[in-house]
């Protein structure tokens, strides 16, 4: 009986992942996954609920209620932090279970290694995720990467400890400490704009930690579900890395953009006013909006929606061009735009829209920088050379709403800003858009 429930659960998990692949079926995917999870958890009791005391049930109920409460109260702009936080909890749980198994029962030799693996990955995910959350909240600055890189050499070494040392509680706790510290400093050295990679990578690790916990307690469903999460997390991680033309190792090494080179501009940019932008937009036939992290920071989504409506009322075509690593987690911009009811049919990926820019009248860049820097195509010495970018410089007119000329994450100047077809509107994304909308009423 239990076997059949578990089989159904595993099949449901696989179907859920399949359904996550299309916008029209994705909400059903979540229900499938929930059902699969409920069956899997139910089966773990093996119809014997009396083995568990009240402390156990109270913990589950309170934690569940807390989970619902947190998830309902959080703002959409805080989504990256929340995903990071929950992810850390999952990793921490796997790590704690591995610790208990290591110090409680006499595990067979194979399982010893698996348990240490699970414990290290779980604890690393736990502390790394918490640091990522703090970074996303802007509470932590970048950390020098040299020391961190030397320290990280210890992480692989500790896997060999059980081969040479008699395992006692002291050694196990030492390993936990190393894993926790490595998680903290590894994520601490990575800058904010690399967070999409970090979040996806930690997500993958929490799946791998769960999978290895499945090996220790001999649960096939745990292994299957953990492996599914691990694999899907790896895909997102690699997609994010490819979108920056960097390797995972390079991202994890940290310190990107710390070296400021060639930060000067040959000439002054052309500055513009909200009135001018409104006039230019009203004469356009096609407009492409490129949102970046600046839109999220300024909470400008509602203003974006309002401007989109204004333009569409004038029969102007409006599209959104979204770079894969825009924002702080994979798909961040898409979620923010969906929140204000912008149709996902209007959101385009880099590959789908890049050929359209040369026939676009006006491109509006909202708080994005490196992902529209043409140096990625032309300057072989640039740190972002080879990174796929949105070719907005090919459009007839580019308007960049940005507070200053300060460089983006890569720490380099963006020649787009001084291009002949570009104008700068020096203001906050939200304020800029609201002023443009106001000016429209006067045009």
């Amino acid at each position: 009986m239990i076997e059949i429930i578990l089989l159904i659960s595993a099949v449901l998990f696989i179907f859920a992942l399949k359904l996550f692949g299309r916008p029209s079926t994705a909400h059903r995917a979540n229900l499938f996954a929930m059902l699969a999870m409920a069956l899997a958890v139910f089966s773990a009791f093996n119809f014997d609920f009396s083995k568990y005391d009240s402390a156990f049930y109270i913990t589950i109920v309170i934690s569940g209620l807390l989970g619902v409460l947190i998830s309902k109260r959080v703002q959409m702009t805080q989504m990256p932090e929340l995903v990071g936080l929950f992810n850390g909890f999952g990793g921490g749980a796997s790590g704690a279970i591995a610790y208990v198994e290591l110090s409680n029962s006499s595990l067979p030799f194979n399982d010893y290694f698996v348990a240490i693996f699970s414990m290290v990955i779980g604890m690393f995910t736990f502390s790394g995720s918490l640091v990522a959350v703090m970074k996303l909240r802007g509470k932590l600055n970048n950390f020098s990467s040299k020391f961190a890189n030397i320290f990280s050499v210890f992480l692989p070494v500790i896997f060999f400890i059980p081969a040479v040392l008699e395992m006692d509680n002291f050694v196990i706790e030492f390993i936990i400490l190393v894993a926790l510290i490595t998680g903290i400093i590894r994520v601490a050295v990575i800058g904010g704009a690399d967070m999409p990679v970090v979040i996806a990578f930690l997500n993958s690790l929490s799946g791998i930690a769960a999978m290895s916990a499945g090996f220790i307690v001999n649960s096939i469903i745990l292994i299957v579900a953990g492996a599914l999460v691990g694999a899907s997390g790896i895909i997102l991680t690699l997609l994010m890395c490819a979108a920056m033309n960097r390797t995972l190792l390079d991202v994890l090494k940290g310190g990107f953009g710390n070296t400021t080179i060639n930060n000067e501009y040959e000439k002054d940019p052309i500055s513009t006013s909200p009135e001018d932008v409104a006039i230019q937009l009203s004469y356009a036939e096609s407009v492409v909006i490129v949102p970046g992290y600046g839109m999220a920071v300024a909470q400008a989504q509602a203003a974006v929606k309002e401007l989109t409506n204004t333009l569409k009322d004038k029969n102007i075509e409006v599209k959104f061009a979204i770079h894969p690593v825009a924002g702080r987690m994979p798909g961040h911009m898409n979620v923010l735009l969906a929140e204000v009811d912008i149709d996902y049919e209007d959101m385009f990926t880099l590959e789908d829209i890049n050929s359209d820019f040369s026939s676009t009248d006006v491109v509006l860049v909202l708080g994005a920088n490196d992902v529209v820097n043409p140096l990625a195509r032309t300057d072989e010495d640039s740190p972002i050379y080879g990174m796929p970018i949105l070719d907005v410089d090919l459009a007839r007119q580019v308007i960049v709403i940005k507070r200053s000329m300060s460089p983006g994450y890569a720490g380099i100047a963006n020649p787009l800003f001084i291009n002949d077809n570009a104008k700068m509107l020096f203001t906050d994304a939200k304020e800029g858009l609201e002023n443009i909308i106001k000016s429209f009423e006067l045009v």
Binding site: A26, A33, T59, I70, N104, I223, A338
Partner: protein, 95 residues
């Protein structure tokens, strides 16, 4: 469900392969809900905690550690699915 180590490894490989194949063509629009949904699934480690909880009766410290793991995993599962539902709700109303 118990199986030999080798068979378990095979299952692990197959599950990873299926996960990889299913997700490799996912559109960018769904990256966030996918991540948040798979994140909730990783809380399935709750099962391991449920399985070992009755085994740690003798040690109060270990029992507390398992209860912490249960709390973390439950938060991960319930919070994760709930937030994924919220995100997907926004995509649904666009249909």
């Amino acid at each position: 469900m118990e199986a030999t180590f080798l068979l378990t490894l095979l299952i692990t490989f197959l599950a990873s392969f299926i996960g990889y194949e299913l997700i490799s063509k996912i559109p960018q629009t769904l990256h966030t809900p996918l991540m948040s949904g798979s994140n909730a699934i990783s809380g399935i480690t709750l099962i391991a905690a449920i399985l070992i909880y009755p085994e740690v009766r003798e040690s109060q410290i270990l029992q507390i550690i398992v209860l912490i793991a249960i709390s973390f995993a439950t938060l991960n599962i319930v919070g994760g699915f709930s937030v994924t539902g919220r995100i997907l709700e926004m995509f649904k109303k666009n249909d």
